[in-house]
């Protein structure tokens, strides 16, 4: 007994000082909440919703924004060449020519972008799956968020991301709040993705006509109108791309093809053509949107430049004007900024202009200038014509920079704005740095788009088309030069109206891959540019339309994803290593 007692005493002396027991090891994160303690209150729900918005911006705009929707679509379109600075690799040109052999080492072109999309979708799926366990009682910091609004806005955001993914890659996995193990999901038939997108938007259109919130803190959130306008955009793209294409659209290397007619039928089961028309009419009749009178006033930098030369210019209409239906909001803060504008700016130009410096990607061809009628107020608002604005000296100065593929033109709508004319210190209006604080919102859907979609679908076609034309040309010109609301005319009008807004490429694809390939083709000897890259044995810009046909206009899926999927994912045809 005595021995045992001694052992006990001895052991106590050892163990006592340390205190304690296993609870000593209990620690908890002090700067992060943990999942079981989140998704509880209305405030949690609001924060989670904002987290979805942040991901929505980050996906398209701040995560390696060279390949943001706008810049990527413009490089892919018939309007522009990849550009960028001399000495940069030819990745942009590989995308521009639909030909990976131009830069075979580009195996993960869209990797950051692709990843960011799934981060966004995960956040949205998580919030949607937690709606039932949240206590929706109003609390401070909850911004009066209701279950309906939370669900509706999240679904619009998710629909947007899926729309961006499916139109770029064609064959993607479909992950929703009900997917058990995303890592084991193969690529879904595109029809399922489009059905999900339209169902989300249909749900949102119903859910979102109930909310009311303070404009000062809520302007810019997704609305019923955004849901409806986006539904129309998605509907027209899907039915056009699959409906107007004659060739098969493969489901990936070694796989069969999309059942195009089946896809269109499934879409119509969710939202029929007449329901879409109803959405558009509703926006026009009840949305309270209108076209602002001066087209140039829609754009920050163009307005500032115009104001310098014409004191009577009405000025910038602001980013919350009556024409904005859906936008991606940006501000000065790094991480909340507009990421793609800096890519569009001209290379290092020191002049009296207030155009900010950029990387000079997505360089419009000179033929774009001739697309516009000289009376079209959209011409000078959409294109920066270096010779016209800066004269021969300016042209020579700008063309001497390290701009690959100098054409004398830049997209103007989203060009960043220098703080002062000629300032080369990179400071932008508002004092932010050049790369990470440009604040201009990216407008995803303008009212003009709704009017033209309505015209395209035969809703007051002439009137809606004319409304857009009158704003651009003036009533007198339109009266003198009437234009019938034919499909071709409307598509041409869309080309002019949305020049440089990242819409054109998908407007081409929805005319059918064959039509798109024909329009995109640039036959030899090609378009001559200054300092063009030497591809296909010439520095002229050449594009083989067969590449568009081979790829069906779809893009490369990051090879890392395919490798990690262990055979679940396959590459799109035309992008094999």
């Amino acid at each position: 007994m005595k021995t045992i007692k001694i052992i006990f005493v001895v052991l106590s002396t050892i163990l006592l000082p340390t205190g304690c027991n296993e609870s000593f090891l209990d620690t908890e994160p002090l700067t992060e909440k943990t999942e079981p303690f989140f998704f509880r209150t209305q405030q949690d729900a609001y924060q989670a919703l904002i987290g979805c918005y942040a991901a929505f911006l980050d996906y398209d705009n701040t995560s390696y924004s060279w390949w943001a929707q706008c810049t990527a679509a413009e490089i892919l379109s018939d309007d522009a060449v990849a550009g960028s600075a001399i000495g940069i690799n030819f990745e942009g040109d590989a995308v521009d020519r639909f030909d990976i052999k131009v830069n075979p080492s580009s195996l993960n072109i869209y990797k950051a972008h692709y990843n960011a999309a799934w981060v966004a979708i995960n956040r949205m799926n998580t919030l949607l799956s937690k709606l039932d366990i949240i206590d929706w009682t109003a609390v401070n910091g909850g911004e009066n968020l209701t279950r309906e609004v939370a669900e509706g806005e999240t679904k619009v955001l998710r629909a947007w991301i899926y729309y961006c993914l499916v139109r770029r890659y064609g064959n993607i996995p479909l992950i929703t709040e009900n997917t058990e193990d995303p890592a084991n999901e193969p690529q879904a038939d595109p029809s399922l993705v489009y059905v999900r997108i339209l169902q989300d938007l249909k749900d949102a259109a119903t859910l979102l006509n109930k909310g009311s919130y303070s404009p000062a803190t809520s302007t810019g959130r997704m609305s019923e109108w955004a849901a409806k306008a986006l539904a129309a955009r998605v509907y027209l793209f899907a039915t056009g791309y699959y409906g107007n294409t004659d060739q098969e659209i493969p489901l990936g290397v070694g796989r069969s093809s999309v059942d195009k007619m089946g896809l269109i039928a499934k879409i119509n089961e969710v939202l029929s053509e007449s329901e879409i028309k109803g959405y558009l009419s509703d926006i026009i009749n009840n949305g309270g949107f209108s076209l602002i009178s001066n087209f140039q006033s829609l754009w920050t930098t163009g307005s500032a430049e115009a104001l310098r030369h014409d004191p009577n210019f009405p000025g910038y209409a602001g980013e919350n004007n009556s024409e904005v239906i859906m936008s991606m909001k940006s501000t000065y803060f790094s991480g909340n900024h507009n990421g793609f504008s800096k890519w569009l700016g001209p290379r290092q130009v020191n002049s009296d202009s207030i155009y900010g410096t950029g990387w000079g990607i997505g360089i419009p061809f000179a033929k774009g200038w001739d697309l516009f009628d000289p009376n079209d107020s959209r011409r000078g608002a959409s294109l920066l014509n270096v010779l016209l604005e800066r004269g021969t000296d300016g042209y020579n100065l700008w063309s001497s920079k390290d701009q690959r593929s100098f054409t004398g033109f830049y997209y103007k709508k989203y060009i960043p704005l220098n703080a002062e004319p000629g300032l080369q210190d990179g400071s932008l209006r508002g004092g932010g740095g050049w790369a990470d604080s440009w604040y201009q919102d990216y407008i995803l859907i303008r009212y003009a788009d709704v009017l033209l979609m309505a015209a395209e679908m035969g809703i007051d076609a002439q009137a809606n088309l004319d409304a857009v034309r009158v704003r651009s040309y003036g009533q007198t010109y339109v009266d003198a030069n009437p234009l019938a609301p034919s499909y071709e005319n409307i598509m041409h009008e869309r080309h002019l109206e949305f020049f440089g807004e990242g819409i054109r490429y998908y407007d081409l694809l929805r005319q059918g891959v064959e039509t798109a390939a024909q329009i995109l083709t640039i036959p030899a000897p090609g378009i001559m540019v200054k300092d063009g890259p030497n591809i296909y044995g010439t520095t002229n810009i050449i594009l083989d339309g067969n590449n568009v046909l081979t790829t069906s206009g779809l893009q490369q899926i990051p090879w890392d994803e395919i490798t990690l999927s262990e055979g679940l994912l396959v590459q799109n045809v035309g992008w094999e290593k």
């Binding site: 000082p17 090891l25 002090l30 999942e35 924060q47 919703l49 991901a55 940069i88 803190t217």
Partner: protein
């Protein structure tokens, strides 16, 4: 096994300061010669009482067995000489007793041995000799005196000198001097712990000076084993001890670097020569792709690195390599354990040391870059090969010719004779009650890259260690404390971006540095810009502008301990240790002048300031009980203990722009004008926390020191894992057998002094991951701007940030070790051999996952790697009078093979060789960790027939090739070259690592040579950004293919860099090397002349990194940059400098 003497220790504790001891010695000296004694009557006492009186009178301790005191009375009348040695001897002689001075002020009483002749020269701490004894010896002996020094020329105090065949002897004093009366034909035996014993015949000489060789492999050595020490002869695992003196002799700023080539199985790869660069260390092969760094325990306290220490502060480094040795550290030991003991004082040896060196560092090997003419020539060839017109013609070629050689950016960026210096002052000493050791040192090392004004390390280290005993040694308290201040200016040059060495290597020579106004050239215009290279900017300018930063670190590491020994052999020890570290960083980035198209006022419109502060506090409380006992000849030593450790940190940083002053000195947040609305400001602040709660036990057993057995179990709980998984158990067993103690081995005794066979098995863990990876956490750092104001209403968002893994648990490494230690010819020849098999299972790692998951990858337990290898160390020590020699060779062979990883492959990143390069290394089942996954090449196509002939089934394998292109091996014969043909073309881990250490002694001279090398290692060279056509080449490119037969390995040049954009073994170089790391020639003046009071006055000259034998064409084949398991990529880095040094060691 010798019976431990059952001493009843009787001690009187007195505080004796070191100077007290010195003055006492003087007192003794002055009393020499007093022989007259005044007799007093009736002075008879018991011997015990008499001794008690002595202790009080002379401030000494006397120990004895109580039976010796029984019934003994002494006449104390005759003992008033004033010298306790004399008096004590007189007193004891009355009962045939003698005393032995074990240390200053500590004496043990023994019986006169029967063997001993009637003369007993006794050891004293001074040159005193007992007069009373003299008459007993003078008839048969002569007086011998002399000095004992080490092979390094230092005097050795405390050396036992015995007359062979007797128990008579003495010990050397603090200056290594001795005096002894010995028979004319006698033989003296000199022995001391840590030295090889030596015999010397007297031969009638009156002066015998002797040099003892240091015994690296001494059997009596005590090694640190974790929560205790053990005699080396009883060790059953694979451990290595390196003494601090040996480290200090290497003259390196970072003590870890000094281990290079000294310890087999411990691979140290220096990360270049930039001051403050952290070396990579891995023990017995790379076991994980996660954190492969060993556990560092300094005086019982865990810390992350040891580079804050000065080598002169280190007593010893013990490295526990096998699992059984490391198992006492359980969860943290899977990559081995490095135990550092800082210097302790020694009772009775008061010493002042001063060490200083000053050195001049220079670039050891310059890369040969193309000059302006060669550059223009090759660029023209490139253009021609791509169907373009040559660029450098006519006026442009005239410009190039006018430049001459052009700019050599390497010459511009590297400086010669950059100083490095170190001054260390140490004091140590003590009494048998109190010992202390304290030191102060200052180290400064400039960087050869840009010179000391750009890169510089300043380190001040202060250390105080002391230990005090109370109540007859029942209680012992002490502390170890090191305080360091490190001031590090500059930044590492590694990776591909912001690496100015890389930029200097690839910057074309046709750009000048300064224009006629003395400003940096603006490369926006001019010849290079016209050529398309306007995106480049002057690397010298960028380096000077961007390198304005300082790291200041204050680290306080120490422990306070108390050890209670209530009964003999039971020790209860409690220790509280802390590490307190403040790391502050401040940088200034000025606005850029126009330098090039990507570096100009617009890329950084405002100057910027960044300040951060990182405070970490760790405490560790350790309680142990150890008990040793004997049952007959079975000796047991048991230890149980508990340990609690907590680490808390707080990080705070702020950045802002637009400063009112434009220099580094004024770069503080308060001087910045940027406001938050413009997004110019940023700040961050967060805590870190980690806890560990552990229990452990160990049993050491031996029978007659012949059979040894050890068992260890540790249980660790870590806050890094969920409640269910946080506790891990780590067992180990080991055994040893000393064959030479067996009767059947006695015949080999003449040549085989000792042979021990060891075997061990054990498991260790690893828990080194960020906290809370088992939890799904919600991150609140996202935001979105809403509202009508253009400035935006920034709404705060939250989201799940990463996948959680509640099942996350310890990584386990399991290791079996078999080895032997053999000593031949009395330890003159020593061999240690080990074979091990180590398997690391369930790595803690965060492998890439499919992005559809939408969250950061979780941490998982996945992967298994086997390391198998052998280690051999051979030592040879010879002493031939004036001439001494020691040779130490060691080598380790390791084979690394991944046996399992999640999804079979863990991919390396893309873009690491050049801007758009494909993944080139990966970790894959069945291959070495991080092997190079590339195409194999088979020479070049010399002509079009070669290309046509390279076909399979009539189809050309490389139809688009042209003469001068690489011929890729179609590994699977499918007629196309693709990823299926990529194979293992090398890996960054050397198969064989070895070291050579030589020490030659001639009288006062000493020559030390250290060399280390690696064999069978491959590096990947990536100086060139192949996304561009205009960077500069090294002169290797002059040997490119430019016509049939001109080259079969360096392909033709073209604008698209066709032969480099598809990763192949053209990037891979064999990088075996043997480096002469240190050659030191020293001369100890104190050895040949009286330099009192200096016991040592050693002067030396040394060359560090004297020469590197290698075929690798880069500046330095030793590449330590990159991720822990990816260290073989040479992007250009600051190489190890060649340093010429002078120095002095003084001991007083």
């Amino acid at each position: 096994m010798t019976q431990k003497p059952q001493l009843q220790v009787c001690c009187i504790m007195m505080l004796v300061c070191s100077f007290g001891v010195l003055s006492h010695a003087q007192e003794l000296a002055s009393s020499e010669g007093i022989t007259k004694e005044t007799k007093k009557q009736n002075q008879v006492k018991s011997l015990k009482n008499a001794l008690d009186d002595f202790e009080v009178k002379y401030n000494i301790s006397i120990a004895y067995k109580s039976e010796l005191m029984e019934n003994k009375k002494v006449d104390v009348e005759s003992i008033s000489s004033g010298s306790f040695e004399k008096d004590l001897a007189v007193l004891l002689k009355q009962h045939d007793l003698k005393f032995k001075k074990v240390r200053d002020n500590f004496n043990v009483i023994e019986k006169e041995k029967a063997l001993a002749p009637k003369k007993s020269g006794l050891g004293f701490g001074t040159k005193q000799r007992l007069d009373a004894d003299q008459q007993l010896v003078e008839d048969v002996a002569i007086r011998v005196q002399g000095q004992v020094t080490s092979d390094k020329g230092e005097t050795i105090p405390g050396v036992n000198i015995l007359i062979k065949g007797t128990a008579t002897g003495t010990v050397t004093d603090i200056d290594g001097n001795y005096t002894l009366d010995a028979p004319e034909d006698g033989i003296l035996v000199f022995s001391s712990i840590g030295y090889i014993a030596q015999e010397m015949a007297v031969n009638g000489r009156a002066v015998i000076d002797i040099t003892l060789m240091e015994d690296m492999q001494s059997l009596d050595e005590v090694v640190v084993i974790g929560y205790g020490t053990l005699q080396k002869k009883l060790i059953t695992g694979a451990t290595i001890q390196v003494s601090g003196d040996d480290l200090a002799a290497r003259l390196l700023t970072n003590p870890l670097d000094a281990l290079q080539g000294m310890a087999p199985g411990v691979t140290i790869t220096k990360n270049g020569g930039q001051p403050g660069s952290e070396s990579k260390i891995y023990i017995r092969g790379m076991g994980t792709i996660g954190s492969g760094s060993p556990l560092y325990i300094i005086d019982g306290v865990q810390t992350e690195s040891i580079d804050y220490l000065n080598s002169t502060d280190i007593e010893s480094i013990d490295i526990l390599k096998d699992a059984a040795s490391a198992a006492i550290y359980g969860s943290r030991a899977s990559n081995g354990v490095v135990l550092i003991t800082t210097k302790q004082g020694k009772a009775g040896i008061n010493q002042i040391t001063f060490d200083a060196y000053y050195g001049w560092q220079s670039l050891a090997k310059k890369p040969d870059l193309l000059n302006a003419q060669e550059y223009a020539m090759l660029m023209n060839e490139k253009f021609e090969n791509s169907g373009d017109t040559p660029f450098f013609v006519g006026d442009r070629m005239d410009q190039v010719i006018a430049m001459g050689e052009g700019t050599n950016w390497i010459d511009l960026l590297f400086e010669d004779n950059v100083p490095t210096q170190n001054y260390s002052l140490g004091f140590s000493g003590g009494t048998d009650q109190s010992i202390y050791s304290t030191g102060l040192s200052f180290t400064e090392q400039g960087g050869i890259f840009g010179g000391a004004s750009q890169n510089n390390l300043e380190r001040i280290t202060f250390r105080i260690n002391s230990e005090h005993k109370f109540y007859d040694n029942v209680l012992k308290v002490g502390e170890n404390l090191t305080v360091t201040h490190v001031d590090l200016q500059g930044a590492q040059q590694d990776g591909r971006s912001n690496n100015y060495v890389n930029q200097a290597l690839s910057m074309p020579p046709i750009l000048g540095n300064l224009d006629s106004n003395g400003d940096f050239f603006d490369n926006t215009t001019g010849l290079l810009a016209d050529f398309g290279g306007g995106s480049l900017s002057n690397p010298y300018a960028m380096f000077v502008l961007n390198n304005q930063q300082k790291n200041k670190t204050i680290k306080v590491l120490g422990n306070f301990y108390a050890e209670l020994q209530p009964i003999e052999d039971l020790k209860i020890r409690s220790s509280i240790g802390t590490v307190y570290e403040i790391a502050s960083f401040r940088s200034y980035s000025p606005t850029l002048p126009p330098l090039g198209q990507f570096a100009n006022p617009s890329t950084r419109p405002y100057d910027e300031v960044f300040q951060s502060n990182d405070i970490t506090m760790r405490w560790v409380l350790t309680n142990t009980i150890s008990y040793g006992f004997n049952l007959d000849e079975h000796e047991f030593d048991m230890l149980i203990g508990s340990e609690a450790q907590q680490t808390n940190g707080v990080f705070l940083s702020a950045a802002n722009k637009n400063l009112i002053f434009d220099d580094y000195n004024h770069a503080y947040i308060d001087n910045a004008l940027g406001n938050s609305n413009e997004g110019l400001m940023s700040m961050e602040g967060y805590p870190t926390e980690h806890k560990l709660l552990s229990y452990f036990g160990r049993v050491n057993y031996n029978f007659k020191e012949k059979y040894m057995f050890n068992a260890t179990l540790r249980s660790d709980g870590s806050s890094n894992f969920s409640k269910e998984n946080r506790r891990g158990y780590f067992p180990s067993v080991s055994a040893g057998w000393v064959l030479t103690s067996e009767p059947f081995m006695e015949t080999s005794g003449s040549w085989l002094t000792s042979l021990k066979i060891r075997g061990s098995w054990g498991q260790n863990g690893n828990q080194n991951i960020p906290p809370f990876r088992y939890l799904a956490t919600v991150n609140s750092n996202s935001s979105y701007s809403l509202g009508t104001d253009e400035n935006g209403f920034r709404a705060s968002g939250a989201s799940l940030s990463r996948m959680s893994n509640p099942d996350l648990k310890w990584e386990i490494s399991e290791q079996t070790n078999i080895g032997f230690d053999a000593h031949f010819y009395d330890g003159r020849f020593v061999a240690n051999f080990d074979y091990y098999q180590k398997s690391t299972k369930g790595w803690l790692l965060s492998p890439p996952i499919r992005s559809v998951i939408g969250l950061s990858p979780p941490w998982i337990n996945g992967g298994n790697v086997n390391n198998e290898g052998v280690e051999l160390a051979i030592g040879y020590y010879e002493d031939m009078g004036d001439f001494g020699l020691s040779v130490n060779l060691n080598g380790a062979y390791n084979k690394n093979s991944v046996t399992e990883v999640p999804n079979d492959i863990i991919h390396g990143p893309g873009g690491s060789l050049w801007d758009n390069s494909q993944e080139y290394y990966r970790t894959e089942t069945g291959f070495p960790l991080g092997y190079y996954w590339m195409l194999e090449t088979d020479g070049l196509f010399q002509n079009s027939t070669d290309i046509e002939n390279y076909s399979i089934g009539g189809n050309m394998i490389q139809p688009s090739a042209v003469p001068g292109d690489l011929r890729y091996v179609d590994q699977n014969n499918d007629g196309v070259i693709n990823d299926e043909d990529r194979v293992n073309v090398g890996d960054p881990f050397p198969d064989f690592v070895y070291g050579i250490n030589l020490n030659l002694n001639y009288k006062a001279f000493n020559l030390m040579v250290n060399a280390n090398g690696v064999a069978d290692v491959q590096v990947v060279q990536s100086y060139y950004n192949y996304a561009r056509y205009f960077p500069n080449y090294t002169s290797e490119a002059l040997g490119r293919w430019h016509g049939e037969g001109t080259s079969n390995y360096f392909p033709r040049l073209d604008k698209a860099n066709t032969n480099w954009t598809n990763n192949s073994d053209v990037y891979v170089y064999q990088a075996d090397f043997l480096r002469l790391n240190n050659i030191t020639l020293s001369w100890d003046i104190a050895n040949i002349m009286n330099t009192q009071p200096l016991n040592q006055l050693r002067l030396y000259v040394a060359v560090l990194n004297a020469h590197t034998f290698t075929k690798y064409n880069g500046m330095d084949p030793e590449i330590g940059s990159g991720a822990s398991y990816q260290i073989g990529q040479d992007n250009g880095f600051v190489p190890n400098p060649r340093t010429i040094m002078v120095g002095v060691n003084i001991k007083l």
